[in-house]
Subunit: 262 residues, 2 copies
């Protein structure tokens, strides 16, 4: 039986009883049909990953009995993804893929040419949690409320580098820019900003250019959809600047969980 | 009014009448509600991009009257994506995103641990055509019939380099491998091979290792789903080896077409 991996909010340590949410209890009882004592794997983004067992309580509830730690919490790159909301299936996909690709913050931004303005932050967060659970990530990115680009840039944190992908503009090749960074830039916090399908407005471009550590880059001769541009930029950033530069650890087979392959 | 961009099979030159398919005629007449004389943009993967106008014929049919060429056909990287089929939504996504990311061939491969075996090649091709139409690409990748990995490797073309992404294994970082290629390797044809969620079988791994120009690479410390691994590897390959190394051209505003932003 595969081990079900779950994100929980509670502190994790040996011997504690971690409460499981209603949805988690329902999922374990009725979707996965797990019985009392079924093996679980828990993480909360702070305390690493823990072996646990399922304990059913009453007709609906469930808790996890935490045993021993199986992985230490590791530091992850401080990388924001700032993206203009797109229609439902594509925004779900951005949340899922960006989580797999290791972003620390998902920040929807409303631009002058943004067409979709309502963003279901709770649904984005659920997608991020599911992606983290299924892909062995030890944390879940923070999903922020949408903010106007103007306002975001007006309060831009000092020292956070900004990689700007504007599919309507031109820019030096992304690999040339990222491979040429000095050590200080590599160690800095970063954000990738992807424009809406219609591109940034002129006033937005001039605000972007005023950020101290901003670099516009190009993603090749084909025009990418906004979601593709976001994921492509994240992958290239991780490969050249982020934690993909380290050799990949091989996981112990015991702690590989099932994935939704069918 | 935005210009509708369509892929056609027919040869394109000034003055010819390009027949439009039933689906294309229906789309233009009833979805886009285009009238006689509406502006079109056509490409066929060989003759560049052409301005054309719509000519309605009878109650259902339509043709395009081809005027002048607006873009020359450009050469594209010779890059195959060989991927184990995954469930429907994810395989559609692979076809769409891989097209945007510039693959020349989409090759579904059946491995010992592949769970989904039926592949709707026609639907994959429709996804690839739509992605090419909507993202200014001048060609559509060839979508091949699924083939057993063993058979594919047994007839592996001499000189085609193979980048192997195996999420269950370890490997040197992808950027380190690709940045270190010599000029001959950069000029060679390539294929990216992504394993199924369950990983390659031992016999498959040993067949893969027998390919002359094979390199296994790692995609960081998080485990990626097969579709994410495919798109991430494509993006990094294009950035470091492919045509993203050239500066991005800025398109004339006239020939930017509408995209599905809502």
């Amino acid at each position: 039986m595969s081990v079900t991996r779950l994100f929980v909010e509670t502190d994790l340590s040996s011997g504690v009883e971690a409460p499981l949410g209603e949805d988690q209890a329902h999922y374990l009882r009725h979707v996965m049909r797990r019985a009392d004592g079924a093996p679980l794997s828990l993480f909360n983004g702070r305390d690493g990953e823990w072996k646990a067992t399922l304990s059913l309580r009453g007709k609906k509830a469930a808790v996890a009995l935490v045993a021993e730690r199986t992985r230490e919490q590791a530091s992850e790159p401080d990388l924001w993804l700032c993206f203009a909301p797109v229609k439902r299936a594509r925004i779900d996909y951005i949340a899922e893929k960006a989580t797999e690709l290791g972003v620390s913050v998902l920040q929807p931004v409303v631009t002058q040419h943004t067409i979709v303005e309502r963003v279901n932050v709770e649904r984005l967060r659920a997608n991020a949690v599911e992606a983290a659970e299924q892909t062995e990530r030890l944390s879940v990115p923070e999903v922020r409320q949408p903010v106007d680009l103007t306002r975001l840039l007006g309060a831009w944190p000092t020292g956070r580098h900004l990689l700007m992908c504007d599919e309507t503009g031109s820019g030096p090749p992304i690999a040339e820019v990222l491979a040429g960074l000095d050590d200080a830039a590599r160690a800095a916090p970063w954000a990738i900003v992807v424009g809406p399908e219609g591109g940034f407005a002129e006033t937005e471009l001039s605000l972007l250019r005023r950020i101290k550590d901003v670099t516009a880059v190009g993603l090749g001769p084909r025009i990418l959809r906004a979601d593709t541009a976001a994921l492509a930029a994240l992958a290239v950033w991780q490969a050249l600047v982020g934690d993909w530069r380290r050799p990949t650890p091989r996981l112990a087979a015991d702690y590989r969980t099932s994935k939704d392959t069918v």
